[in-house]
Amino acid sequence: MSLAPDLKQRVLAAAAAKPAPTRGQTTRARLVLFVAAIAGALTIFFIKGGVRMTNRPPLLVALTSVGTAILSGVGMYLLFTRRGRSMLRRPGLWLLLAALGSTVAFVSWKFGVSAAFGMAQSWPGRVGFKCLRLSILTGALPLFAALVSWRGTDPLTPAATGAAFGAGAGLGSALLVDLWCPVAYVPHLLLGHVLPIGVLAALGALVGWRLLRVRSR
């Protein structure tokens, strides 16, 4: 048994009747979306106060920011990119390990460097809710951009991919919030800096399952 002889013609005719964006058009559209999302996140960040040294030495701010940038960058690279020549995402276990590893490394770095400068003590007035809110607000826009950009492209694990995008966006927002927040007290870090990564990952999983999956026509 073989395929109907006219199937190829039907497929080609259907494709010709419904123009699809080329790689160049898709890349440009994604670029516009991401630039807009990052500009939106930066706008929120600067409206909320932008970079704040508080009583932190400049070297401490530089060290925590550069370290967070590197760790977040590695995490986002693993969470957002594909593996090798595959068109598909990395396996779920990989994504989970990348998200957890980056988050643990980022918190350890922030706490370790701050402790070395004697600035990891408790801040009774700073529980972490402001950081939580700012992290979620600044991370939600890039997450939305990623979910829209890759909509309908994941036939395997749309929820895991959405969660990975959420964790990646959370790591990106952690970099911004680190420039804003001087507190390195562990309970504060967990509530204000780690929880938002989890919240964005959960949001990404929920929305990703709807948006990223490939639907039957």
Partner: protein
């Protein structure tokens, strides 16, 4: 031009390249889908849906990426959807193969033994998880590399190798168990014949 290059050209806007992609990918998808679905219409419908998905998302196809695992993962996704909808038996192919094997054998006892062995293998195969079955079919049936199958299934190369190992072990033990029973049988059979 191979299918990967053709898809890459199609992603860049060379519409004529899609026919080359179709010629290279459609027969592979057909073979895979026919092993799971009985209806020709369903197979053709899934192939059409798969190519339309590839067309819609051609802009996301990266330069240098592999088209076959991508196409298989999309087709498999549609196939699972279809199977859920129609509740068809995924093992229809094996039942057919068992019947065909039986028809080829002339001796009645051989037919019976082959059927019993086939039933054991079938039971062992059906006891596997969906993931293990798919890993076995893609590597054994479709001749994909471990890396390609891992890509289709969204797992690691080690994961595919582990699945293959488990499948081989289960099928081998099912066959060996059957052979041991057959080997033990002749001592009782002559007594019955007398």
């Amino acid at each position: 031009m191979n299918a990967d290059d053709a898809m890459s050209r199609y992603a860049r806007g060379d519409d004529a390249a899609f026919a080359i992609v179709y010629d290279a990918v459609a027969p592979r998808l057909e073979g895979y889908l026919r092993r799971h679905l009985r209806g020709s219409a369903q197979v053709e419908d899934i192939i059409q849906q798969t190519f339309m998905q590839m067309h819609d998302k051609r802009g996301t196809f990266s330069a240098g990426a592999e088209v076959l695992p991508w196409a298989f993962s999309i087709a498999r996704n549609f196939m699972i959807d279809t199977m859920r909808k129609t509740k068809r038996e995924a093992s229809a192919d094996l039942t057919d193969e068992r019947t065909a094997m039986g028809a080829m054998l002339v001796n009645g006892e051989e037919v019976l033994q082959a059927r019993q062995t086939g039933a054991r293998v079938l039971a062992a195969f059906e006891a596997l998880t969906e993931h293990q079955r798919a890993a076995y079919e893609l590597t054994e049936g479709e001749g994909m590399s471990h890396a390609e199958a891992a890509s289709v299934l969204g797992t690691t190369v080690t994961g595919v190798k582990l699945c293959r190992h488990k499948v081989n072990k289960r099928l081998r033990s099912a066959i060996e168990e059957r052979e041991q029973r057959v080997a033990a049988a002749p001592s009782a059979a002559p007594a019955g014949d007398r």
